[in-house]
Symmetry: C2
Subunit: 268 residues, 2 copies
């Protein structure tokens, strides 16, 4: 299997696993974003993932390519955060390789990344210097000579996906280790997702609903793990309230990519 295929399987397995509290899964759609949108994005990203494997172009242009290829449907952003993690992992081959890749990014990567960001409808905290809704952001990046790694360093405080670039893909590593510890197959994905949800505040939830909600979700996920709360009911509650742990889903995809590369079996 190629690395691009490994990444596509990771994206497919993540969206099929259920029940995943609050997120689109095999049994739950959001009205405007459905499982078919995630799977179409998984299919259509292929040439950009192939390019990453053959190291054709820098990481900024690869993320932009993936976003352009997968924005053709009406489902909105599906895999932007996942591409931020998958591209360096595919280019570098593994986590140590990806750490080298992210540290070698350029100002041009940062500018192209912002172009890609502008094409998605990703939720951001507006009003700061590097607001992607502000056309002057690219000027600031160039003036200050910020690389894409610098951008991620800047964003790491509020974004757990960016944090992966800075801290050596710690949660990705933990997710992959959990998958392997829980054993093969679909249920391990759900258990790993729940474990991360119970121990890490999801920064996508924080941006959308605030810290208190993110904290509450963590505690409820912990209750589910302790057998004090029903998983399916919790899932439905989250969906009804529009609370979707999108950043943990992105990290889950990266963890699946690593675990598949280390021999974890999805199909048992």
């Amino acid at each position: 299997m190629t690395r691009a295929e490994q990444a596509q399987l990771a994206m497919m397995l993540e969206v099929c696993a259920f029940p995943k509290p609050g997120n689109v899964d095999r049994c739950h759609d959001y009205e405007t974003t459905r499982v078919e949108h995630f799977l179409a994005s998984t299919i259509l990203a292929r040439p950009a993932l192939d390019r990453a494997e053959r190291a054709v172009g820098g990481i900024g242009s690869l993320i932009l390519d993936a976003v352009e290829r997968t924005s053709v449907h009406s489902g909105g952003n599906t895999h932007f955060g996942a591409f931020i993690l998958l591209m360096p992992l595919i280019m570098g081959g593994d986590i140590p390789g990806a750490e080298r890749v992210v540290r070698e990014t350029t100002v041009e990567d940062a500018v192209l990344f912002y172009t890609a960001f502008g094409k998605t409808k990703v939720r951001v905290i507006t009003g700061n210097d590097l607001d992607v809704t502000d056309p002057h952001s690219c000027d600031i990046i160039r003036q200050q000579g910020m690389t894409l790694f610098d951008i991620m360093l800047y964003s790491a405080k509020n974004d757990m996906v960016a944090r992966e670039w800075i801290n050596g893909f710690q949660l990705t590593r933990r997710g992959a280790d959990l998958l392997k510890a829980y054993g093969c197959g679909r249920d391990s994905i759900v258990q790993t997702f729940l474990n991360l949800l119970a121990t890490e505040p999801d920064t996508f939830i924080i941006k959308k609903h605030g810290k208190d909600t993110a904290w509450e979700v963590m505690q409820k996920a912990q209750d589910v793990r302790n057998g004090l709360r029903d998983l399916v009911t919790f899932d439905q509650e989250c969906i009804n309230a529009g609370i979707n742990p999108g950043s943990i889903a992105d990290i889950m995809i990266a963890a699946l990519y690593i675990a598949l590369g280390e021999g974890w079996i999805w199909d048992c």
Copy 2:
């Protein structure tokens, strides 16, 4: 969108649509063949579909390539019948083009097709001259100078997928027209599937369960369309009895491929 991507979207949309009586869909797995197996096969077939689009190799070698790439999981045969229809449609571009392609097949295509067939666990009626479980079949093909078109002509009586090659892709055409008539989106796929199921005996069901069962399924599908029977209950009945209309699913994929190429919208 490339033709290969259009084919992949067709495969993905078919397996996600629900409820589809008896078949794997978003809400139903069989114990050994699950929705993830169909989606993994959809992803892993890509290079073979790309080759078909660039006309690299004959149709026999393309079907063999697709089968080899998608046999890496434990889910058994998922898309063999779909590849038989998709390969000429991708190579020819549309139905008239596919009709030309199938009539130009060679003895070598037939031999490679039998090699592919031998690698799947597709259900066949054994005991005839061209039994794929019989190693002498390839000798017979070469001795008699049978092309892959001749093989399909020979199989058409008992196999509705082979029949498509012979009769100008009639059910593929009808499926595509139905999809467009029912309108955009997932529900049209279900309605088209039900329409075909109510009007055509599925040859995969005949091979597995006999003609009486296939006839009964048709009549029950007709009852569903007339509001006399509940679709979800009928689906569950079929699944419990292991009655899966696999050939109509293959034709549905081909119909989706054609409809997508003619502007039908999956995403509304």
